[in-house]
Symmetry: C2
Subunit: 83 residues, 2 copies
């Protein structure tokens, strides 16, 4: 069965996000001064071939821990749906 | 009122995603060969101060169109919640 894992990787709240800060300034320059804060992370979509939901879940968790997220600076969360 | 806009910006389906391809190869090298495809985009969280939901919605749409998404190569979607 095919599963889609939607993974969100964001910088930890405690850390500065210079890219987000730069985008925030740009939005203000464009006249969108109502935007108060911007945080920028990654959105990763994995297509996983697995026998069942539990297996797809463990593959997505493995991918996050081993490669996708740097847990010193980033947090991750994901949802899995059956395609 | 404060609203949080969660914006997802992904490369269009029709386009190659070399970053995703590289991550796919790396996952296979790590033994996660069940992963068949990887697409990588951006996840952007805006904190918006607005009078109502409709206003926050129009600010998020403006931010996507004017700055965040390059609509030639990327698609965007977002959800807005009241904080």
């Amino acid at each position: 069965m095919k599963f889609i894992a939607d993974i969100i990787i964001m910088p930890l709240k405690e850390l500065l996000d210079p890219q987000g800060k730069a985008v925030n300034n740009s939005l203000h320059n464009l006249g969108l001064s109502e935007v108060q804060d911007v945080r920028i992370g990654k959105h990763i979509k994995l297509t996983i071939e697995a026998a069942d939901f539990a297996k797809a879940d463990s593959i997505a968790a493995d991918a996050c821990k081993k490669l996708l997220a740097n847990q010193v600076m980033e947090s991750y969360s994901y949802t899995i749906i059956k395609e």
